[in-house]
């Protein structure tokens, strides 16, 4: 606690970097996952390959993946960022796929029958109806990303991990506690707000 009280602005700044890194990684991850999830929901043949492949990435220990990526991209933010995007894929794609395939067939039938083009069916009917499940996936991915982003501190990528790894090196328990507390707090905050979003879109659909 002492460290936190003595250095509030440093902790806050690192928390800000941490949050920005997570937000950017999630934004890129969603942009990559959306087409993959749509593809997976439409193609029973590709689905097991996609989800299996992304699941395999997900099971690689984060430190091992990071070590590999550092070999390829050097120290700094880049390897961490790539790791975060890669890890989030499994949770995001799986939920986008499940959400789209869970859309009531009567809804799809009505949409097609009224003359919506395939693009409109997706944008105006299927994705909005799948949104609660997709946001659910985003929530899980966000929490995992916040945790894994701690590793950035180890390879010079910044964020709250800096406090934890420096604390470990300097045997400074206060520093470790400040970093850990920050990560937890961030996770709780993001989890709460995305939970609220999830509930809001669900109520809107009458669920």
């Amino acid at each position: 606690m002492n460290y936190l009280i003595a250095n509030p602005e440093r902790v806050l700044r690192l928390a800000g970097t941490h949050a920005a890194m997570v937000a950017a990684a999630l934004a890129v991850a969603v942009a990559v996952a959306l087409p993959l999830g749509i593809l997976s929901s439409r193609s029973p043949r590709l689905r097991p390959l996609l989800l299996g492949g992304l699941g395999a990435i997900y099971t690689i220990p984060s430190l091992a993946l990071l070590a590999l990526l550092v070999q390829l991209f050097g120290l700094g933010l880049a390897p961490v960022f790539i790791a975060l995007v890669a890890y989030a894929q499994f949770m995001l794609v799986r939920n986008i796929d499940a959400g789209l395939r869970g859309v009531d067939p009567a809804m799809r039938d009505a949409a097609v029958g009224m003359g919506l083009s395939p693009r409109m069916q997706l944008l105006r009917v299927e994705l909005p109806l799948a949104l609660p499940v997709i946001v659910g996936g985003l929530r899980i991915a966000a929490i995992a990303t916040i945790a894994i982003a701690t590793l950035a501190g180890y390879v010079g990528g910044g964020g709250l991990g800096v406090l934890i790894f420096n604390g470990l090196a300097l045997h400074n328990t206060g520093m470790i506690v400040a970093g850990s507390l920050g990560v937890s707090l961030l996770a709780v905050l993001v989890d709460g707000s995305l939970r609220w979003c999830e509930r809001a879109v669900r109520t809107r659909l009458g669920g």
């Binding site: 097609v112 029958g113 009224m114 003359g115 083009s117």
Partner: protein, 263 residues
């Protein structure tokens, strides 16, 4: 409101992928402009399949369908569907859109002006006996079953279609609301003069609404005729059984009474 179109079905056949028995077989049928045709038959007889071939939700394996002399296979399916009203049993209102937005879908697809759509939505809601002021901005979850069915009908006719397809549109409401909706439907279609293909397994509903009834069994037409013709002169034992099921119920009830009296 434009006049209804003529629909000519010639030798239509549908066999679902992987099925050995065709769902529809060599089905030929002409629906006159403005006619209210009810397709009746047991579940699984192919009546919904027939309806869904008209807006090309299901492709034909044999035969052809022409609307006003134009083979539908030669048209863009999306454009074809925009000209055909479609209402289904599950109602299919989109839960994330308000009532007004649901009704406005096809007019929007057809590129109507904002003012024309707004006026059309209000007129349609009034037509199906829903006060536009009260219902326009509601979500489907805030409607009763009967109200939702009404919105479903309003949405199906919103684009001033010349053909209207309805697949058990009143299937999900209780008997009282159902008969009320049927009465309103009767008045509505007289006004619209749209060519309507209405699918039901409810014989009473068929007799009430139809200009002409088509009885379908195992993918084939058993009989075509006015309600009176079908009732008075059933063409096969199947049609007879279908339309006199109610008589059987009455008979059963009488037998049960008799049994009680004898005890």
């Amino acid at each position: 409101m434009p006049r209804g179109a003529e629909i000519v079905v010639r030798g239509a056949g549908v066999t679902y992928p992987g099925a050995t028995v065709p769902t529809l077989q060599d089905l030929t049928l002409t629906i006159a402009p403005g006619e209210f045709l009810v397709v009746v038959g047991p579940s699984g007889c192919g009546k919904s399949t027939l309806l869904r071939t008209i807006n090309r939700l299901i492709p034909l394996n044999a035969g052809s369908i022409a609307i006003d002399g134009i083979d539908i296979a030669s048209l863009d399916p999306v454009a074809l569907r925009r000209g055909i009203g479609y209402a289904i049993q599950a109602v299919g209102l989109f839960p994330h859109m308000r009532v007004g937005a649901n009704v406005a879908i096809v007019p929007e697809l057809l590129g109507w002006s904002r003012e024309r759509i707004a006026a059309r939505v209000d007129a349609l809601l009034a037509l199906v006996h829903l006060d536009p002021e009260r219902y326009r901005d509601r979500f489907p979850r805030e409607l009763s079953g009967g109200e939702a069915q009404r919105v479903g009908v309003a949405r199906a006719i919103a684009g001033e279609p010349r053909v209207l397809l309805m697949d058990e549109p009143f299937g999900a409401v209780d008997a009282i609301v159902r008969s009320q909706l049927q009465d309103e439907m009767l008045l509505l279609v007289r006004e619209l003069a749209t060519t309507t293909l209405f699918v039901t397994h409810d014989v009473d509903e068929a007799l009430l609404l139809a200009d002409r009834i088509v009885v379908v069994n195992r993918g084939r037409i058993e009989q075509t005729g006015t309600p009176l013709e079908v009732l008075a002169g059933p063409a096969s034992p199947f049609v007879e059984r279908l339309f006199h099921a109610n008589d059987a119920v009455i008979e059963l009830r009488e037998k049960a009474r008799e049994r009680q009296r004898l005890r």
